[in-house]
Amino acid sequence: MSATVGHSMKLYRNTGTVAVPVWTEIANVGDVNIPDLAVGLAELKRRGNNFTKNLPTLFTSMAVEFRLLHGLGATVFDGLRTAFFARTINEYAVMNGDITVSDNQGLRLPAFIEQFPWDQNLEEVSGHDCRLAIAYMEEPAGTEIDPSWYTVP
């Protein structure tokens, strides 16, 4: 693995199942960020010690933020718009490069589109600052799907 810029990284959406995924690239995106990849803290404050310390708790609610340009890639756009209005839970993969290239890796998580605002600024390319929120998902029924780390062997 080497240093990589966001331009060569990739975002994918799974329209198959968890067991048999079929990924499609969401290509017409600008910045993609996972700002909430963090561990929660249980704070320890005691009379017997002068320092505030922490114990790790749960991983915080993960989210993926990306800028989707409006009017490009009609099929993918339609899929995302439909997923937003239907509140569909899909799997997404945030990869550090092409999903077929050996040694590439990334976060795979079930999520729904929490935010799909539409910016129509006078002198800017129109777009959507989308936000994916990690979701509770069972597939098949009774089997809970957690986030995982995809690596391409």
């Binding site: 999903i99 986030p147 391409v152």
Partner: protein, 122 residues
Amino acid sequence: MSTTPEQDLRSRLTAAKASPTGQPPVQPLKVIEEPMFALSVQELRDAVATNPEHPNAEIFLRAVNGKHSTEVCYVERIDLEALLDNADVRVVEKIEGELVVRRKKLVPRHKPATPAPKPATT
């Protein structure tokens, strides 16, 4: 036969590793290792047409529903092989160090037993 202090220390290390308390904790984030395969939607539809009765066929078709035939999609190579070879896929999870690594394995397709023919009634 007497052992050296170094051997004693080494054996204690080995014993610690074998004991449950000596194992490192397993990370909750599983690692999925699967080679992927890029193909066009039309190629995937053609592959499905060769074995439409396979369980993956319906999943693939539904996944590309409404997509242009020239659009590229990515499937796990073993899922496509299972469809083309009429095989099943088994998921194997293995603890490797601190990680749970999930891989798929191709296995011969399980066919439901054919019912015995009923005796002819006259």
